[in-house]
């Protein structure tokens, strides 16, 4: 009986070591730099807050860069924003890098995409990482839970069209 108990104990230890612990570690591992979840919560800006910033007289206006789809940008974008994507692809990342290359590193920048649900967006994470890596210290990312249509346009916030 004690042999069976010992074997069960060893089996449990093996399962714990090779299966459970790695799974737990994976759960707590830092998110990939390409994930939107990698962006610190302190660097997120919500739609109401951004609209307040854009509406306030005399307030510093950020450089707003859409780092997702050009076709979606052309359909609707935040007035005054520029297209600089898609950040998940080499060409788009180069475009973003070129746009930012000569900017003072303390420029107030807001990035956004809105192509997909936040945790599925392939663009904002790489864009934030790229600008952070270039030394920009005042980069915020607009949090869009579902997509630009649902979280900005449908709420009646200002929209511009065209490329």
């Amino acid at each position: 009986m004690s042999v069976i108990r010992s074997a069960a104990f060893v089996a449990a230890a093996v399962v714990l070591w090779f299966v459970a612990l790695p799974a737990l570690n994976a759960q707590w591992a830092a998110p990939s730099p390409s994930s939107a979840s990698s962006i610190p919560a302190s660097q997120l800006v919500h739609v109401d807050e951004l609209n307040r910033i854009l509406s306030a007289h005399g307030a510093e206006r950020p450089l707003i860069l859409q780092v997702g789809s050009r076709v979606m940008f052309a359909q609707a974008h935040i007035p005054g924003s520029e297209y600089a994507g898609p950040a998940s692809q080499d060409g788009g990342a180069q475009q973003l890098r070129a746009r930012a290359a000569h900017l003072p590193r303390k420029t107030f920048i807001v990035l956004y995409c809105g192509c997909c649900p936040w945790n599925r967006c392939p663009n904002v994470g790489p864009a934030y990482s790229l600008l952070s890596g270039m030394g920009f210290t005042r980069v915020k990312v607009l949090y869009l839970a579902d997509n630009f249509g649902a979280d900005w346009v449908s709420l009646g916030f200002p929209v511009a069209t065209g490329s």
Partner: protein, 168 residues
């Protein structure tokens, strides 16, 4: 006061810019005729939405960088095989900037339905494609009967399309 109203109206009229019209309310498309379009597929074949009149059409807007889209497309291809004989057709519209990645991905996923490149004008006609994936179900008379935005339970879509297939 009159001058204030006048300038306010002038300012309001100046907001927005040229290009595709701003997105309209998406729910306004339901139970309305699906905007027709004529495109050329990535395989070089011309086709139109109205060419599938009499069939139930699943119109899917997608892009190569959209992970949920890549999960859906093989399922749509399977439905094309399963329900095609009942008068079902899938149309895929890529919202990528370039055709090459769309062509590569559709080949890799073994898509068996026409894929064409979309643009902001087509997107605007469908109420604004401002998030992906976006899928419409169009009945045999060309009327939009359902709209699915974002990652959707595919069983929900399939259940709806089966009901439309049962209607003649």
């Amino acid at each position: 006061m009159t001058r204030l109203v006048f300038f306010a109206a002038l300012f309001a009229a100046s907001v927005g810019s040229a290009g595709a019209p701003a997105p309209t309310a998406r729910h306004s498309l339901l139970d309305k005729p699906a905007p027709d379009f004529a495109l050329t597929s990535l395989n070089g074949q011309p086709f139109s939405l109205s060419g599938d009149r009499g069939k139930v059409v699943l119109l899917n807007f997608w892009a190569t960088w959209c992970a949920p889209c890549q999960n859906e497309m093989p399922v749509f291809a399977a439905w094309q095989r399963q329900y095609g004989a009942q008068g079902f057709a899938v149309i895929g519209i890529s919202m990528d900037d370039d055709a090459q990645p769309a062509r590569q991905l559709s080949d890799r996923l073994r898509v068996n339905y026409p894929i064409a490149m979309g643009d902001e004008h087509l997107g605007a006609r469908y109420g604004g494609v401002l998030g992906l994936p976006l899928t419409f179900l169009i009945d045999r008379r060309g009327i939009i009967r359902a709209r699915f935005q974002g990652e959707t339970d595919l069983q929900t879509i399939e259940s709806r399309l089966k009901k439309l297939l049962a209607q003649h």
